[in-house]
Amino acid sequence: MSDLIQTYLPNVYKIGLWGEDGWFMATYTTLYMTIWAFLIGGLIGLLTGLFLVLTAPGGVLENKFIFQILDKVTSVFRAIPFIILLFILAPVTYFLLKTNLGPTAAIVPLSVATFAFFTRQVQVVLSELDRGVIEAAQASGATTFDLIKVYLSEGLPDLIRVSTVTLISLVGETAMAGAIGGGGIGNVAISYGYNRFNHDVTWTATLLILLIIFSIQLLGDLLTRKLSHR
């Protein structure tokens, strides 16, 4: 096996499995950035999306002012291309982490991008829930907190579905994080592969990313199907 790789994919072999620049570290870095950005951005996005629906006109906590603010903030961050967001958020990243380089620094812009993306997805999922179900809960004397629980439990399968979509687009964005020294598989593909004409490296990195993405998709679909009782 090792001989085969050495013969046909010489540059892939040269990078090696372990070590600072190895394939293992690159994969770990990609997953590290993806998971943290998803946890942070996803949580903020979930709350923002939820409150967008609650404060929307006709919503349970209708509030034009808060709705407009949340809506505009989300729109702005959603509109900025990620590669630009990486650079304009640099001062914020520096303020929070005292550095602008490395995978941890990349988590800040990744989280912001995820928050905006996920907020919209959550908003769509929750606002498409049957308004009648919420009304029935209200009619039975539900508190606002009860209603939030209804929103989240009724939306759960779809929230998982959009989490899958978000995670997949996030993996794509981590590849760009290489631009600020974020590392990861995307960085390997560009720095070690494309830029040095090592096409075997580029293709191997691409395959690895595809593998991660398909795994996420598979897991997401499985979970959605398992949890949906529609």
């Binding site: 009648g132 809960a137 039975s140 209804v150 009782h229």
Partner: protein
């Protein structure tokens, strides 16, 4: 007299939509007694749903006064209850919907239990109550099914069990049978009637089907363009409808329109003899006891050929409708018509022989 449980006084509901003002409900006053099955009929957009939602304040009116069970819940353009009091009040007003509105991610049992989460019952008592409720609606064996695994009628039963969880005094039914087939509709209506009798539940039901009103209601209100145009006991409304819309609704319920179309195609009606009249007779109550058609034959030798007949028992009172061809001498025909009217039967001439 029986006790008033729902009192709506001069309710106005106005919506503002992009500079457009929509008056959904206009100066409606309704008084519903404890134990009533009160029907509210009207076409879509008449304001029925909007109006009943003020009972549990899912809809806040623009003006008017609402009194529920002797407690003023809305007056002077303000809700008179604290949020906690409002939630408690809502627990005592069950509501069921056209599309059931069950939580798809929860089983029948969990859906019913959801309504009990703020009750004072212990966990064990709650579980027991849920079982009792599911038993009451005849769904004990489907407790662990999700709504998607239930038929429309079964879903509505779960919804009824949920609505009854906190032992409400009032049940609001918003087109609760409109999405069901005729057989299931009958079963659900029978269940509502049984609950009304067994638990003394006051039922307010919105429908666009007069047939339903006829089957189970004791009082009815007719709404048109946000206004209440006619109100009364089912017997009054069915035997003496005043408004054109009410008459229209009643005709669809009795099926007389369809019958008339068929009758008009019959030879005897198409070639109506010159000494004959096609008339429609309507009577209610005691008038049905007297053999009026028999009498006009004896007195005026006017024969009556019955082409269509329909008798309903509304509130223990028979209400009938006949379409007959009267034949006889011209003056005898006049006298017979007079005699029919004097007997308290409404008569409409549909066609004169030529």
């Amino acid at each position: 007299m029986s006790e008033t449980i729902i009192q709506l006084d001069h309710i106005d509901i106005t919506f503002h939509q992009k500079k457009k003002v929509i008056e959904a409900v206009k100066d409606v006053s309704v008084s519903i007694n404890k134990g009533d099955i009160y029907g509210i009929v009207g076409y879509s957009g008449a304001g029925k749903s909007t109006l009943v939602r003020v009972i549990n304040l899912l809809q806040i009116p623009t003006a008017g006064t609402i009194t529920i069970g002797g407690q003023v819940t809305f007056a002077n353009q303000e809700v008179q209850l604290s949020p906690a009091e409002l939630r408690q009040k809502r627990q005592k007003i069950g509501m069921i919907f056209q599309h059931f509105n069950l939580m798809a991610q929860k089983t029948a049992r969990q859906n019913v239990a959801f309504a009990l989460r703020h009750s004072d019952l212990s966990k064990i008592e709650r579980a027991k109550k849920v079982e009792e409720l599911l038993d009451l609606v005849g769904l004990s064996d489907r407790a662990d099914n999700y709504p998607a695994q239930l038929s429309g009628g079964q879903k509505q039963r779960v919804a009824i069990a949920r609505a009854l969880a906190n032992d409400p005094e009032i049940l609001i039914s918003d087109e609760s049978t409109s999405a069901l087939d005729p057989k299931t509709t009958k079963q659900i209506l029978a269940l509502l009637q049984e609950l009304n009798r067994k638990l003394g539940l006051t039922v307010v039901m919105i429908t666009h089907e007069m047939q339903i009103v006829k089957d189970i209601c004791n009082r009815v209100a007719v709404m048109q363009n946000g206004a209440l145009i006619e109100e009364g006991s089912v017997l009054e409304i069915f035997s003496h409808p005043k408004q054109a819309l009410t008459q229209e609704f009643i005709r669809t319920a009795t099926g007389i329109d369809e019958a008339l179309v068929k009758i008009e195609k019959q030879d005897i009606v198409e070639d109506l003899a010159s000494n004959a009249l096609l008339v429609q007779l309507k009577y209610a109550g005691h008038a049905t006891d007297e053999p009026i058609l028999n009498e006009i034959y004896k007195r005026f030798e006017v024969t009556a050929n019955i082409l269509y007949g329909n008798i309903e028992i509304l509130d223990n009172t028979p209400v009938g409708e006949l379409v007959v061809v009267l034949s006889g001498q011209l003056d005898a025909l006049e006298a017979a018509q007079q005699a029919i009217l004097e007997a308290g039967v409404a008569l409409t001439v549909l066609k004169r022989g030529a």
